[in-house]
Amino acid sequence: MPLPLEGPIQYDRVKGTKISKPARNVVQQAYVKDVAEGIAITLRHFFKNTKEMIRNERPDAVTDAIADGVTTLEYPFQKRPYPERFRGVHRLTLREDGSPRCVACFCCSTACPAQCIYIEAGEYPDGDRRRGYEKYPVKFVIDELRCIFCGFCVEACPCDAIRMDTGMHPQPYDSRDQFVFGKSLLMSFAGADGTQQSQNPRVEPGEKGFPGITRLAGHH
């Protein structure tokens, strides 16, 4: 609306739409019926839940989590099962002879966005059949407090040496340095299926199917 250029400015009264209050009858206004209805609901819940508590019939907090009734999980004594592909604490898978499958290629520590994996690579000693073919981790350290449990290390590993299928979450400890897991601890964990080895067999030097190429044979 254009302002008038001449003469006194006309101030209109504020125009609003009148919204009528919803009509209430005597019963609603007395508030007795509504109070009774509300109390009937709480009474129903009270009796149902008390009955189930006394008879120990309350719905299972794990399997009936969204059922009516008290479905509180009593945590330390009762745990919700993790899904099958839950990413828990890492473990290092083992070879048949109990040594780590890890070849210290640094793929995991490179892929790690949190930079929580520290690896020191070392050569197998002279005379070992794996010497010159692959390396092994002298140190393999994961800081579980830095870890963001993204699973990139597992994706990056070319030899299925690191896995997060333990189904465990880090236990609470007293100090931060206890969350820094070393090689031997990581090797001691088993997967959720109980095995410490991997399903994929690794062909060792000298075994059938070994490609026959060693690193030392190449020209550097």
Partner: protein, 443 residues
């Protein structure tokens, strides 16, 4: 005043105060577990003590003791600029009135000690009339089961209930805190407003009973019918007013957690806060006791009279004489049981109703409750006069209606008992959960 009277008085005080405090303590537990049951959760159940190497939790009842211990060992903080004297006085003023209010509530009929002597321990007494014995120096007195047997009765209750304002207001004033002052002011205005409605809501009951003495009210209800049937509106109005007087959630303006933190309780900690907290629960007990005494038949069970059970219906009568001691014991148990059930029920209001706004509380008190109580007074007056004028025929019809209502109450009590207690404990067969896999899915 003889030794027997004094001993009896001490014993009565012990019973009443012990009952009040114990029930209030249990209510602090009941409120938390009960609200948990209403809201589909466990509630506090972890406090425990070890007995013979076994952990005992008592369904969370240990929390009552744990809370008490906590209150005693917490720092008792007094704001530097607070009025030290009033700050310490307020919790006492707030705990005192509800405790002494219990004094006038009768928890049984008059105990005729003299009739129990001389080998008549298991004898019955007359249904009508109080203990009539030949006046002699050796006669034992009749003991009314009421700590303070006074003829002002309900006026004493009004006077002391009015004291409750003082505690909250002084707490708000002495704390040197703006929120506290607001809370104290709100407490004062709210309690004064509802005091009026509370007083007027009982006037109808006085007219019907023709007395202000609580023991006579209870006796009238035993002889005729429970007060809730003759004063249904008065019952509701008194209940609403006493809810508002107890400063609990639908009417928790003085505390007003969302606006003024905790109102008059902001600067209180330790056992001083505990006294306010405890006073609140004793108020629930007292208001339940008053509701029971005035409207729910007091210590009376349907058809139970001083001489035993007498079921009269339409002229036919069945009578079973019971010893005086048994009757008195049954009456006391009835009274305490009724109070407990009503306390349990009163807790539901807090966990069901949303709280009112401050202006809504005031409007409800002055514009709704007060006119309704006045209307109740006039209506009751008209009806009482009309019945008095109507003569014998209507009176006999009304007696028939009263018998029917007594029968109804008895049936309801039995039904509720069977439905709740038995239905809750006795198993109905193995538990079945339809539509749910029996084994949890593999992890």
């Amino acid at each position: 005043m003889t030794t027997v009277t004094i001993l009896a008085a001490l014993l009565k005080i012990l019973v009443v105060v012990g009952f009040g405090f114990t029930l209030a303590a249990v209510l602090t537990w009941a409120e938390r577990r009960q609200s948990a049951m209403m809201q589909d959760r466990f509630g506090p159940n972890r406090a425990s003590f070890k007995l013979f190497g076994k952990e005992i939790r008592l369904a969370g009842l240990v929390h009552v003791a744990a809370d008490g211990l906590k209150f005693f060992f917490k720092e008792d903080f007094v704001p530097p600029n607070a009025d030290k004297l009033l700050h310490a006085l307020a919790p006492m003023l707030s705990l005192f009135p509800p405790v002494v209010l219990m004094a006038v509530v009768p928890f049984g009929d008059t105990l005729c000690l003299d009739q129990l002597r001389n080998g008549h321990t298991w004898a019955a007494v007359e249904r009508f009339g109080t203990c009539t014995t030949a006046p002699s120096s050796t006669a034992l007195p009749a003991v009314p089961l009421q700590v303070f047997d006074t003829n002002v009765g309900i006026l004493y209750i009004f006077a002391l209930a009015g004291m409750g304002i003082v505690g909250a207001t002084i707490a708000g004033w002495s704390s040197d805190n703006k929120f506290s002052v607001l809370g104290g002011l709100r407490a004062a205005s709210q309690l004064v407003s509802y005091e009026v409605a509370m007083g007027l809501s009982l006037v109808g009951a006085f007219m019907v009973y023709g007395t202000v003495r609580l023991d006579e009210m209870a006796r009238w209800q035993g002889e005729h019918v429970w007060g809730i049937f003759v004063q249904p509106l008065g019952f509701l109005l008194f209940w609403a007013a006493s809810l508002a007087e107890s400063k609990r959630t639908p009417f928790d303006m003085p505390e007003g957690e969302s606006e003024i933190v905790a109102g008059h309780l902001v600067e209180y900690s330790g056992m001083k806060f505990g006294m306010f907290y405890f006073g609140e629960y004793i108020e629930i007990v007292v208001s339940s006791a008053l509701l029971v005494a005035i409207f729910l038949g007091g210590y009376n069970l349907p058809f139970l009279h001083r001489d035993g059970f007498t079921v009269t219906f339409a002229g036919a009568a069945w009578h079973q004489t019971l010893p005086h001691l048994v009757v008195i014991l049954m009456q006391a148990l009835t009274f305490f049981g009724k109070v407990m059930v009503l306390c349990w029920f009163q807790l539901f209001f807090r966990w069901t109703l949303p709280r009112f706004r401050y202006d809504q509380v005031m409007k409800f008190g002055w514009r709704m409750l007060l006119p309704a109580t006045l209307a109740n007074v006039f209506l009751t007056g008209v009806v009482v006069l009309a019945i008095d004028r109507a003569g014998e025929r209507l009176a006999s019809r009304l007696a028939l209606v009263a018998d029917g209502l007594n029968l109804l109450v008895a049936a309801l009590i039995v039904f509720a008992f069977i439905r709740v207690v038995v239905g809750m404990i006795v198993p109905s067969g193995p538990p079945t959960r339809a539509g749910v896999p029996e084994t949890p899915q593999a992890a």
